[in-house]
């Protein structure tokens, strides 16, 4: 019955309205009649009845409000009304929605990256307890890989970890997979048998390693990554148990890993660690292992660190020759996967939130202006009995509609930009590909976006409420100006804040762009254009490092290439230029005072072919380059670069000096220096040109460098045919131009500079829109004042100046406050800067002038309009 009435009430709202009206009317009439009967004059009788009753409209609202269903319907009415109001001022609505959508879209996109990289739990069991364990050495920048014997000792002596596992995999570890009709170069990783159980990785097919697999007799087994399984075996399930030929040796496939998240994701063929070079397993020189440990529950990282440092100190005492300077570094897995991206992502996130703040300030300003123009309407509504709550519902539904539409549009914008963002992060050194793949609009990200929308909506909904005048009579008085003074003050404060935030974003953006400029203006020491790099690994045991067969293969290949018309010269080395390599060697300068074994100097070392320097374009400063006979005779000559000569032969003639190599073995070799070449930033342009040692020779793995006189990739067919002529089964891989290598190595800085540049432009645009809006409104408000001034003789130029001065005041304050904030926040970005000071004067000037110019441009238009006001019309209106 009651439900039926409620539903019928919904349908018969108007009938119910009439009924309540009638009831109230009859009440008032009865009171009036009684009043007249008791002797009041009719006018007073009616007035007394009304006063006793209170506001009839409010009563009516309260009667309907007592019905839940009807309350819902009144909210629905408010929403519909809000829609109509917004549609009636499309200029306001579109500006507000677009502004907010830009802010929300950018924030959503960057937050989804931050969420994927910094917040989302990693796809491994107990991921928070997995720690990377590295060695450190004073002469090696950053964490260094671990020696096999050190790893064994750590494993035996540590007390903090449930398990310690190791794998060995640089990107150049490959083997030749011999298929029925062709060969493929596959990427191999050696892993200790417990690596997968430590990570909690369960195979999708077969099994992973058990301890017996990691013994010298049973270790010819392979676990495939899901990608390798698809690529080389087309996902054939019968691959389990199959014998495959790698470098001429038979291995049995025992399992397939799950796709994507297997870590490290770049491994294709996983093999037991005991397959490692015997020499590496028995000596304390050579550091090639990545070590992971899973902490025992309840053990803190700091505790584990102390534990490991004790072991390192013990090893340094027992093996001073090799371990004296070797320390231990513990890096939690997340940090290891995200690498150096954390400060970048945090800076981007901060800036994008600042841009969102500017967008919000803009919309707040628009809403304030709107509220100010509607003061009288609001007063009338209140006089007619609208409760404050009802007014709030109306404002709130208006801002909710704005914010939700903006949120929707922003999410679409974010969805459109995410693929670009993923590409940007993929090209960025530092982030694991599996993490980059998880940058997407998922539930937590969308929830945060929704939260931002609702928060801004409620904030904005409250804003006009504060502005609602408490004294009705005042706001109803015609031509009233009493409230504009305070309001214009709060608007100026808002716009100053907006400008201050814009300065911060602009300054950070300019700093990063300047830093990127510095970076690309670094001369790498050689010409990077028209230079192609590709890699070859010859199958063992047919070829071994520096054997005649190997030398012969590469010499003939280089000869063939150099005869080709598009190729100027070709050379070989063992690492791609501009990519960090950890090939370092200990040595001693012949004749120098002997040093303790642990204090031996250590520098970068590369083996190169005779034409390497010529191909790279490194200049021979002294002596001669290597010749073919140096390689054939395996003569013990070396060439050093200028940085090396400066550091180690200060003053002496390098060509009369020799270097002692293999110093830790019983028979050190004395190698005379035959040449000095110019420096190259071989480790990337970010690092200084390091001292380097060059040997003559070819290894089974070689990086071919080819200088061309045409587009360097166009000569690839000739290279392939040259290789095929020598060995039809020999694959080539990692083909890229050095320009690509260079741009990849700068990808992270480029991405940050570009994104921050975009945010800075966004901030500037939004600030300009804000300034334009405030000045425009102020001019309409001051129309009469301007009219009076003109009537009293002010020239148009004076009026123009008057308005511009107003703009200059709040811009000036904003800029000053902004600069202080910018300096304070610049240290946030200092980790991202390359040879750029956090108080870089050019960035400061660019930010100040950029904003001043934009502010003046935004103010000139409305100021010009003010100057052309017709004083007679201005005074007549009102």
């Amino acid at each position: 019955m009651s439900l039926f009435r409620r539903i019928s009430n919904l349908f018969w709202r108007s009938r119910m309205d009439r009924e309540i009206d009638a009831e109230i009317k009859s009440h008032l009439q009865m009171r009036t009649e009684d009043n007249i009967a008791s002797g009041m004059p009719p006018d007073q009788a009616r007035r007394d009845a009304l006063i006793r009753f209170g506001n009839p409209t409010v009563t009516k609202e309260r009667v309907t409000a007592s019905d839940a269903a009807l309350t819902l319907e009144s909210i629905g009415m408010d929403v519909r009304y809000a829609f109509r109001r917004l549609a009636k001022s499309p200029g306001f609505s579109i500006t507000a929605i677009l502004t907010l959508a830009l802010g929300i879209g950018a924030t959503t996109a960057i937050f989804s990256a931050a969420y994927a990289l910094l917040l989302r739990s990693l796809p491994f069991q107990h991921a928070d307890r997995i720690i990377g364990i590295y060695e450190t050495h004073p002469q090696v920048v950053g964490p260094a890989e671990v020696n096999f014997l050190d790893y064994q000792d750590w494993r035996a002596q540590q007390k903090s970890f449930e398990q310690v596992a190791a794998y060995s995999g640089t990107s150049s570890d490959t083997m030749s997979l011999v298929m029925e009709d062709h060969g493929e170069q596959v990427h191999t990783v050696l892993a200790s048998s417990n690596l997968f159980s430590l990570l909690g990785v369960v195979p999708i097919l077969g099994r992973t390693f058990v301890e017996q697999d990691d013994t010298p007799n049973g270790n010819h087994v392979v676990v495939l990554s899901a990608e390798a399984w698809q690529h080389y075996f087309s996902g054939d399930r019968s691959v389990l148990g199959r014998n495959i030929d790698l470098n001429g040796i038979n291995y049995t496939v025992i399992g397939v890993l799950p796709p994507g998240d297997a870590y490290p994701a770049t491994g294709e063929f996983w093999m037991p660690l005991s397959l490692m070079d015997k020499d590496m397993q028995t000596r304390r020189v050579g550091h090639t292992l990545d070590v992971l440990g899973r902490l025992k529950p309840g053990v803190e990282v700091a505790q584990a660190r102390t534990d490991m440092q004790t072991i390192a100190a013990r090893l340094a005492q027992v093996y001073p020759a090799t371990n004296r300077n070797i320390g231990v570094l513990l890096v939690p897995l997340r940090e290891q996967l995200v690498g150096s991206l954390r400060p970048a992502v945090l800076t981007l996130l901060s800036c994008v939130v600042l841009v969102l703040c500017i967008a919000c300030a803009n919309v707040a300003n628009l809403l304030l202006v709107r509220a100010a123009t509607h003061v009288r309407e609001v007063a009338v509504r209140q006089a007619l009995g609208a409760s404050r709550l009802r007014m709030f519902t109306l404002y709130l539904s208006e801002t909710l509609i704005l914010c939700l539409l903006a949120g929707l549009l922003g999410t679409i914008l974010a969805a459109l930009t995410l693929p670009l963002l993923r590409v940007a992060f993929t090209h960025t050194a530092g982030a694991d590909p599996s993490l980059v793949g998880s940058i997407q609009l998922n539930v937590p990200v969308l929830l945060v976006t929704l939260g931002v929308c609702l928060f801004t909506a409620i904030l904005f909904g409250l804003l006009p409420m504060i502005k609602t005048p408490s004294k009705l009579a005042e706001s109803l008085r015609p031509g009233d100006r009493s409230s504009t003074g305070r309001q214009s003050w709060s608007r100026s404060a808002l716009i100053s804040t907006e400008i201050a935030i814009a300065i911060v974003v602009l300054f950070l953006g300019t700093l990063l762009i300047r830093s990127f400029q510095e970076l690309i203006s670094v001369d790498p020491g050689f010409r990077t254009d028209h230079l192609l790099s590709l890699e070859i690994t010859l199958p063992q045991p047919r070829y071994e490092d520096s054997t005649p067969a190997t030398n012969h293969f590469y010499e003939r290949l280089i000869d063939k290439l150099q005869q080709s018309p598009g190729i100027l010269s070709a050379g070989a080395t063992d690492a791609v230029p501009l990519q960090a390599s950890h090939a370092m060697t200990r040595f001693l300068i012949a004749g120098a005072a002997p040093v303790a074994p642990g204090a031996l100097p250590m520098e970068q070392v590369r083996s190169v072919s005779p034409d390497f320097f010529h191909t790279m374009g490194l200049e021979l400063k002294q002596g001669r380059a290597f010749e073919q006979k140096d390689i054939e005779n395996s003569s013990h000559f070396i060439i050093v670069n200028q940085a090396f000569a400066q550091r180690y032969f200060s003053g002496k003639d390098p060509l009369t000096s020799s270097v002692l190599m293999n110093v830790l073995s019983p028979h050190p070799e004395k190698m005379p220096v035959i040449g000095v070449v110019s420096n190259a930033h071989d480790l990337g342009v970010e690092t200084e040109a390091e001292p380097e040692l060059y040997f003559p020779g070819f290894g089974v793995h070689a990086v071919l460098l080819i200088r061309t006189n045409t587009d360097s990739k166009s000569i690839l067919p000739e290279v392939r045919s040259a290789v095929r002529d020598l060995d039809p089964n020999q694959p080539i891989y990692h083909v890229e131009t050095i320009d690509e290598v260079l741009s990849d190595s700068l990808a992270r800085q480029k991405m940050i500079a570009v994104l921050l540049g975009i945010f800075a432009l966004l901030a500037l645009t939004l600030a300009a829109i804000g300034i334009y809006g405030v000045i425009t409104y102020s001019v309409t408000q001051r129309q009469r004042e301007i009219g009076v001034r003109m009537a009293l003789g002010a020239t148009r130029a004076k009026i123009l100046l008057l308005i511009l001065r107003q703009a200059a005041t709040f811009t000036g304050i904003g800029v000053l406050v902004g600069l202080v904030a910018a300096f304070a926040s610049a240290h946030l970005a200092s980790a991202l800067l390359f040879q750029t000071s956090t108080v870089d004067p050019i960035s400061i000037c660019v930010s100040i002038f950029g904003l001043m110019v934009i502010a003046m441009l935004a103010a000139v238009l409305p100021a010009g309009r003010a100057a052309t006001i017709n004083p007679i019309e201005a005074l007549r209106s009102e």
């Binding site: 009435r5 009440h27 009865m30 209170g54 009563t59």
Partner: protein, 108 residues
């Protein structure tokens, strides 16, 4: 003269009025409360109607339009069985309240 707008109390006053008079319109309820309380209580007239509407929703009272003695159309409210039970409960809880308040006052 005490002004009362405590919701429960207003409900009680309305229910009691209707139980004493049988059938009455809103204005009549206001007058009855005033006279029956010897001018001690005065109901805010506007707030009567939301309360009446709410009580009708809950089924405590029902209403119908009829003519007054002065031949004016007015909406007459009447207590239902549910309303009668509600009145008993409201009276009981009000007694408790009064007892409690009085005890507090004496204690002080």
């Amino acid at each position: 003269m005490a002004k009362t707008d405590i919701q429960g109390t207003l409900d009680l006053l309305i229910l009691k009025t209707l139980s004493q008079t049988g059938e009455l319109h809103g204005y009549g309820i206001v007058l009855h409360i005033q006279t029956a309380s010897a001018e001690l209580l005065r109901v805010e007239e506007g707030s009567l109607y939301p309360a009446l509407h709410r009580m009708e929703q809950k089924g405590w009272v029902n209403s119908q339009w009829a003519l007054t003695e002065t031949n004016r159309k007015a909406k007459y409210y009447k207590l239902t069985a549910v309303g009668r039970k509600q009145l008993q409960e409201a009276e009981k809880s009000f007694e408790q309240l009064v007892k409690g308040v009085r005890a507090m006052l004496r204690y002080a």
